[in-house]
Amino acid sequence: MLGVCLALLTSCESRQLQQVTCEPGDASLILVAQAVPTATLLPCITEFPVGWIFGGSEIRSGSVRFWLDSDRAGLQALEVSLTRQCNFSKAVEVTPGADEAGTRRFEEPISLPPRFVANRYYVFEGGCVTYRFAFNVNASPTLSFDVDEALSFRPRAALVEEMRKQVGLELCGAGASPCPG
């Protein structure tokens, strides 16, 4: 009884505990697509590297935020956000990875070890995804490589197609036919 009640203690926060995964039909990912309807790519979690867990998410019209906790890098060691636009003027462009096609990648180191803090931006048509690394003191910056394993992008168009097939309705926004209203 007490356990159930204690579990409810955290339930009323606006932060959600539902993961934004790259799985087909993931409800959170549909919500992400609705939050920034212009974004042609959607950030999502493919798998968790050892020591990383899902922290929470905030999905609202205009912006999406979710974060991961690490047993070594600390709580909210990585925060991922999706917005229509972002300011990457202080960042340096680097070559995106093989699975990051269709994006431009920018790196912005803010502080180096002992406390590693950095921003990474992925800019693409209709949206911008920011990875904010904020590691604990003495946590190795190499932990940021884990993130490449954990996160990926799903094309919005694929989700639009899924919705058409599943419910016969349009997921309004980029990649969809114009919606009424």
């Binding site: 009323c12 505990l17 609705q34 019209s61 205009g62 309705l169 209203g181």
Partner: protein
């Protein structure tokens, strides 16, 4: 409650299995609404949608909480907080469990946050308005008008959110019903209007309103069950009574008796609950001093008082003659009817002469001899008529009480009598019925909870330290400890502390719900 859980269950099951069907139905409705979109109508919808804004709800809730604190309507306050907490937690958990995205197939033009079903802003707004209505607005015409206003406001918010396509019709309908139901059930269950009426006049929460339908029910029940015609009902002695609603009934003449006044005490479920809390509090503060088993229902409550009245009558003690029990609402409200002491004055306002002092002390002696204790000897429960002391309110009477309790009755009686006379006269008169050792034991036993609140208050008002005066007159005696420790007391205390801490943590952790 059953209906409310059924609604939750049905919606969860239905949405889980038939979400797509609902989506298509909803989209068709939203497209109908979206066809009406114009620039000015969109401005209006955005303005109205602000009713569901967290700041709007925050202001309404904090305003209500503040108002309830100002008018000291604590029960309503706690019911409101509890209901809102439950509403927010359940609504939130349902949005997560159902995981329904925002409407598909129509352009969303408003602001939103999180999953869509049920609509949290609509549920919060509806629950808040119902909470305000049931905690602040007087029942009857004002509340009925309030219900219409609240209904229009909720529907307006719902329509605006559909217009902006942030919610589906089913999201807002379900949220509206759910928000209203949770808070309404909480108030009907924990602060029913019959027992805790919202009123802006002075009075104790234990006192029930005896006008309107309840008044009619009392008249009808007394006629059918006691064969008496009630001509008038008037609350009396409310100041000295905290556990029931005392009434004076004027009844028409019968073949055997002339028109007369009768005394009645009306009990409802809240009195049983109050008794339960009172006994729990005593157990925690002092341990099991005596039988602290609570009554289970109102019927047993009045049955016990009727029994004690008849027992005292049989023992020849000067109490009111019982006329019987009247059932007003089965298992909810009962009334006990007794003789009304015509011409009697409460001892606190009467002249207490030698005869009255003797009468009061003899009364205690007779109770001791009959193996009884009154347990609530205080000015409000002692009447004086022609120098004779009469005993009323015998609900706490105990058969075969502990010597400690009998000793306390004696001390309390002596203190009541001394309040209107002096300690020396009362002490000397007491020696006619009790030994010095018995009196010494009585004052050694009398401390804290042993004396009723009213008596302690009267003693504080008095310039004299009557307790010290009596103790000085009686032989010296070590104070009798009233603390009783047991595993049950430790367990209950630990449980209450744990529940209180949990409630506090719950409120702190969910502070954003209230604000």
């Amino acid at each position: 409650m059953t209906a409310y859980f059924l609604v939750v269950l049905i919606v969860v099951v239905v949405f889980d299995g038939f979400g797509d069907v609902f989506d298509r139905f909803n989209t068709e409705r939203l497209l109908d609404v979206a066809a009406l979109r114009t620039a000015w109508l969109t401005d209006v919808a955005e303005f109205v949608a602000a009713l569901g804004n967290p700041w709007t709800i925050r202001i309404l809730r904090w305003g209500t909480i503040l108002a309830l604190v100002v008018v000291k309507r604590w029960r309503h306050l706690f019911v409101l907080l509890g209901a809102i907490l439950v509403l927010e937690i359940v609504t939130y958990q349902m949005t997560i469990a159902l995981a329904r995205p925002r409407p598909l197939g129509v352009e969303i033009i408003g602001s939103w946050e999180g999953f869509a079903t049920p609509s949290r802003p609509v549920a919060s707004f509806a629950g808040t308005l119902v909470g305000m209505l049931y905690s602040l607005v007087i029942p009857g015409r004002p509340r009925n008008i309030g219900k219409w206003i609240a209904g229009v406001a909720i529907v307006t918010l719902a329509v605006s959110r559909m217009y902006l396509a942030v919610d589906r019709p089913t999201d807002v309908v379900y949220a509206g019903i759910f928000g209203v139901a949770v808070v309404l059930v909480a108030f009907r269950w924990f602060a029913p209007n019959e027992a805790f009426p919202v009123a802006y006049r002075r009075g104790k929460s234990a006192h029930l309103d005896v006008g309107g339908r309840r008044g009619e029910a009392i008249v009808k029940a007394v006629r059918e069950q006691l064969g008496l015609t009630v001509l008038d009902i008037k609350p009396v002695g409310l100041e000295g009574s905290g556990g029931s609603t005392p009434l004076r009934l004027r009844v028409a003449a019968t073949e055997s008796e002339p028109e007369q006044n009768l005394f009645a005490k009306l009990y409802a479920k809240n009195h049983v609950r109050a008794d339960r809390w009172y006994k729990l509090g005593r157990t925690i503060l002092y341990g099991a001093l005596e039988d602290e088993t609570p009554f289970q229902n109102v019927r047993r409550f009045v049955e016990y008082e009727d029994y004690t009245l008849r027992l005292l009558q049989d023992s020849g003690l000067p109490t009111a003659k019982p006329y019987g029990i009247v059932e007003i609402t089965p298992e909810r409200e009962y009334m006990i009817v007794t003789e009304f002491f015509k011409g009697a004055v409460e001892i606190g306002e009467a002249e207490v002469d030698e005869r009255a002092i003797d009468g009061g002390l003899r009364l205690i002696r007779n109770m001791w001899d009959a193996g009884l204790a009154h347990r609530d000897i205080k000015p409000a429960n002692l009447m004086v008529r022609d120098g004779e002391v009469l005993l009323i309110d015998v609900f706490f009477v105990q058969v075969r009480p502990s010597p400690w309790r009998q000793a306390v009755d004696l001390a309390n009686m002596m203190l009541v009598l001394a309040l209107r006379s002096d300690a020396k006269s009362v002490y000397e008169a007491a020696l006619d019925y009790f030994t010095e050792d018995e009196i010494a034991e009585a004052f050694a036993a009398t401390r804290g909870v042993a004396s009723p609140t009213q008596l302690r208050t009267e003693m504080k008002r008095d310039d004299r330290d009557l307790l010290a005066e009596f103790r000085a007159l009686a032989p010296e005696r070590e104070p009798i400890r009233i603390q009783r420790w047991s595993l049950r007391r430790v367990g209950m205390t630990a449980w209450v502390v744990a529940v209180s801490l949990f409630a506090l943590l719950l409120v702190i952790s969910n502070w954003n719900v209230f604000s």
